[in-house]
Symmetry: C2
Amino acid sequence: MLTLTKTPYYSPKQNLILAALPKTDYERLLPELEFIEMPLGWKLSESGDHVNFLHFPVSGIVSLIYDLENGASSEVALVGNEGLVGISVFMGGDSMPSSTMVQSRGFAYRLSRKIMKREFALGGQLQHLSLLYTQALISQTSQTAVCNQHHTVDQRLCRWLLTSLDRMHDNKLTVTQELIAYLLGIRRESVTAAAIKLQKEGLVSYSRGSLKVLDRPRLEMLVCECYEVVKQEYDRLLPHPSFR
Amino acid sequence: MLTLTKTPYYSPKQNLILAALPKTDYERLLPELEFIEMPLGWKLSESGDHVNFLHFPVSGIVSLIYDLENGASSEVALVGNEGLVGISVFMGGDSMPSSTMVQSRGFAYRLSRKIMKREFALGGQLQHLSLLYTQALISQTSQTAVCNQHHTVDQRLCRWLLTSLDRMHDNKLTVTQELIAYLLGIRRESVTAAAIKLQKEGLVSYSRGSLKVLDRPRLEMLVCECYEVVKQEYDRLLPHPSFR
DNA sequence: ATATATAAGTTAGCTAGCGCACATAAGATT
DNA sequence: AATCTTATGTGCGCTAGCTAACTTATATAT
């Protein structure tokens, strides 16, 4: 199958942080924003890399991942168009032990490290929104730490699906069970088993890397509290689309 | 046994962030800093509380904890005199879903929310150091997420011991197995079993809430990589005692 | 000295998730 | 149509950590 991957147009305002900037800040930033594609599997940065760009996704999903020496790993957070990737640029540490990988193809606007630091130092809305987003990210990561330890694979898969779907603004995901397993830090077979349960219940349909959610309300019944806790915190802290 | 808990004197400079401030910043802050005791078990804040003070520990350890509805919980980070408690004050979110509890008795200087926001807005060293510390905290939390999922109770206990000892600047801890179990999100019996192994190997001695490390080098052989990864990141990002 | 409370140690199933080896099926390629 | 590749499904034994009920030891209080 030949998949046409045309480049659609996205406004920077599709990213909710950029969209929430005051007009003057936004317009000063606009010429500095570079539009780029984020292909599936692309690593925006590896553990310890000096991070040179701050990315503002307008579509797609980026995963923040921690890898262990023995090959095991866990995704600690998901980022979509509500957020940004590369907090070490403005937090001051330049790099992070996590790596960042595109989990669902999409597009982003990126800002050079230099410009971001200059803007951040102004102490305006971009600083404020970046820090609020970082706090939301900390909550997501922390909740993931508890969830990894105490909830079942079934529950965690539901949470991952819902969290991903929220960022796709859609009921479809293009992702193999192999990739889900890698991100959740579990065996591929465990994903298969959990996915079969969901299919038998008619909650999702799944075939060779394309997953469709058929009954979202019932998925939300199955998911652990972690999904809602994080969502509430994002709603509390972050700007929403202006049409809301 | 009657334990005398006199209040010793600690300089604010026992906190490494305060100690790293330029003279003028430090002196401007000094009259605003209030010295307080942090008794064992004290909750600096509960989940969702509006946080009114930023705490700079000079001794003791504070745990950041996430609780689940079913009573399960996990500690997501430890804070000692290298850091601060209450990032939501300057990150802008006012509250966090985590709660903060004193895990080892100690003392701290606290700064009111109002003053901290004013200082942070100046964009000086306090802002810079606070954000660097927050980045380090994110790394600790993220590593905990992976560690919780992939490492054994034995490894995680070692990591917890070493991380705690680093913050006590000592080889002793006053903590029951019950409390350790709560913090690690595991059963008390699992802590007993792991502690017995360590005692049989002569690595620690443990009796009714007082634990002493006898052979730290060998503890460091047993611990998972997570300990060292986080330590390296703290060393890279944060200020060190000036005598180093 | 004795009683009481709290901390730590013991024992016996149970189960979720693991590692590993293999089977089937759906697109893609020729 | 036949073949190949990649994604998904299955079976089986193993073990860490769990629930649960209980015993022992140490410090403190009377």
